[in-house]
Symmetry: C2
Subunit: 399 residues, 2 copies
């Protein structure tokens, strides 16, 4: 059996993801589709809309065969680290290829870009450094450096597009770890990231869909944009949790944490660059509402995503110290599988490069302990009083 | 004008407190009654039933002329430190005497006890040390040592009684700081600390009264046990806060804090003796209810009060380090006054030994910063989103 990998958040799973899963299978010619998926906190520094078990169920119901959790240290990190963790896991589980959605839509520009940046690494980094010095955000600096290096040249990947950036980092990660995994890409269609639901499209962005849920759209209005299985799973999640995950919901606990820590300790938390701790503290004092808080903290230098990552680490209580010490994943946490996925795992058992963990209780790896902790923090934010759910929830199975 | 001092929590103010205030005035012959009162957290390690402003209003409405806040470092400490902070403040404001309620009811036994313990300090401490080694709690050890020293002798204060213990420490504090303040005591009447409301008595314990409120007793049922002003102030507090302060109410935030910190950091918080951090963490994991949590943590060695003090410091986020570094109060925070209290303060202005602070914004003293912080933490626990209330609330005035 041949496996292909994808890297996902499914926040929540919608028709765009269905398309990606379907096309990845076609492009790769694989029998089995493996998704490495973020856990309870996401790359943009947000608590997940639905927990990792619900999101795993959605994936298994719609074409994914195996779901592996991307550890917190990677899942909440900047693109290069995010990609490194994900590709390491897909390689370890024996995927022959991986397939990402991109605005670019073809793989050659990515390979060409990688070649260019590798050969001109020093110049590139110098240019980034200079751009950052002018006070702009890191992503903007990266982009300026890149544009000047390619001389706006065609044939290179357009790294102003968010999915292209991620794609580039996947390829970089694969090359750097000399993984035999073969990179593939498919064209991302429709809905830009921040589009609200557009009734004319059957693909809407995850952001738009979340928005619709938060605004109390009826499930019928959403039917056009998500597989029915996703809708049912979300309905159930909603019933059990009286809503969905969001910073709005988590803010009272976050705010209490920030005020409790005070500036002196705030700067110990990951991503809280020294100097911003007073701003964070004062913003939390003043703002009872998370949007007001973020508006006060974000700036040209610190993007919303960056601020949200700080919020995530303060919320979970992870310090620079704790997150700094990891290099590559040393385990693989199985969140769920289909019958076919199980068959693949049985067959591959001996070839899988990392211990495959099905139960939280078996997760003794220090990196895995962070995931268990992050999960308990998420549960508290959702108002789940049984924080041991992490230990009592077996991998989801879709027969 | 002559002032007498009392040390109070008023949690909440009831007929027993009215009696104490009234008798203190008679015993001392003073014109003005000054209360040093705990702020948002109390000596038994609990959030206050009503906030310090409401409790100040109750006091001013019922015979107290000036309310000074006992700083957090003393208010949440063991009896000897609690007493030291309180007596230092009463001395500094120029009280000629102070008057405490005691089971003993006369002052001579306390003075005799103080003389005995001072002259036999070394023996006494050795005996306490030995008793602690047997694994009993500190209060029990103290008592055993004391009993053996006095040979159960009459004429000494009975230090098995909680108010006698506090009284002893007031006297000890006054003597140690060579304050000219004159100690007085009145007999405490009726209601033991944990008695529920007894319909035959017009004095009920604060615990009993809180219990009645939590169980939703009608205000009419409580009328016999509290001044009408107290009832009205509590009614208003209840309306504004949708209930009262308690660990039950604060536990979700406390639990989140404990789980977020994990054992490695828990032991940094004040009163968390090394070794108990794992027990605290595991108890918080298992228990969604504060009583369950406390039951798991308390033991022969760690009394409920001791555990609740740990809870208080974890909740507010104060470390050993932060609370260790204070010796004596360096300011006096005015929470409220009557017209007569104001007259006394104007007259005494030049003689008052410490800066008198009326507005939180003027409180730059490090010890005072802790109070402001503790107050914000209390407000969050009560669900007050405007945590700057500390800065916008002027001293209460009763004309």
């Amino acid at each position: 059996m041949k496996a292909a990998g994808i890297v996902v958040e499914y926040n929540p799973f919608h028709n765009g993801h269905l398309h990606h899963a379907f096309q990845s299978r076609i492009e790769s010619g694989a029998d089995v589709l493996v998704a490495v998926m973020s856990g309870q906190f996401l790359q943009r520094g947000e608590p997940a809309f639905a927990d990792k078990w619900a999101r795993t169920e959605m994936a298994l119901a719609s074409g994914v065969d195996i779901v592996i959790e991307l550890p917190y240290v990677y899942a909440t990190a900047q693109a290069s680290d995010f990609a490194r963790g994900a590709i390491a896991l897909l390689s370890a589980i024996g995927c022959e290829s991986f397939c990402f959605g991109s605005e670019q839509g073809s793989i050659e520009p990515f390979l060409r870009t990688y070649g260019l940046l590798e050969s001109k690494r020093a110049v590139y980094e110098q240019k980034i450094h200079e751009a950052v010095q002018t006070g702009i955000s890191y992503p903007k600096a990266l982009n300026e450096a890149y544009t000047s290096l390619t001389e706006n040249g065609a044939g290179y990947a357009d790294l102003k597009q968010p999915n292209n950036i991620l794609g580039y980092h996947y390829i970089e990660a694969a090359k750097k770890m000399a993984s035999p995994i073969r990179p593939l890409t498919i064209q991302r269609i429709a809905a830009n990231y921040h589009d609200p639901i557009d009734k004319e499209l059957t693909i809407a962005s995850a952001t738009g869909i979340r928005q619709a849920f938060f605004e109390g759209a009826s499930m019928e209005e959403i039917t056009d944009y998500m597989p029915e299985a996703s809708i049912n799973i979300l309905k159930e999640f909603n019933r059990a949790h009286n809503g969905f995950g969001s910073w709005e919901r988590f803010y009272p606990l976050l705010r209490y944490s920030i005020l409790r820590e005070r500036p002196s300790r705030l700067k110990e938390f990951a991503e809280v660059t020294e100097g911003i701790e007073n701003l964070i503290y004062e913003a939390a004092k003043k703002e009872a509402d998370v949007e007001g808080f973020i508006s006060r903290v974000k700036s040209k230098r610190f993007t919303r995503t960056r601020v949200q990552r700080m919020m995530t680490h303060i919320y979970t209580g992870f310090t620079w110290e704790e997150l700094r010490s990891f290099e590559t994943p040393a385990y693989m946490r199985l969140l769920g599988m289909t019958a076919k996925g199980q068959q693949y795992l049985n067959q591959q058992k001996k070839n899988i490069g990392l211990p495959l963990i099905s139960r939280a209780a078996d997760l003794t790896d220090p990196m895995g302990k962070l995931d268990i902790h992050a999960s308990a923090m998420y549960l508290l934010g959702m108002g789940v009083v049984d924080v041991k759910k992490e230990f009592t929830t077996p991998p989801r199975y879709f027969g």
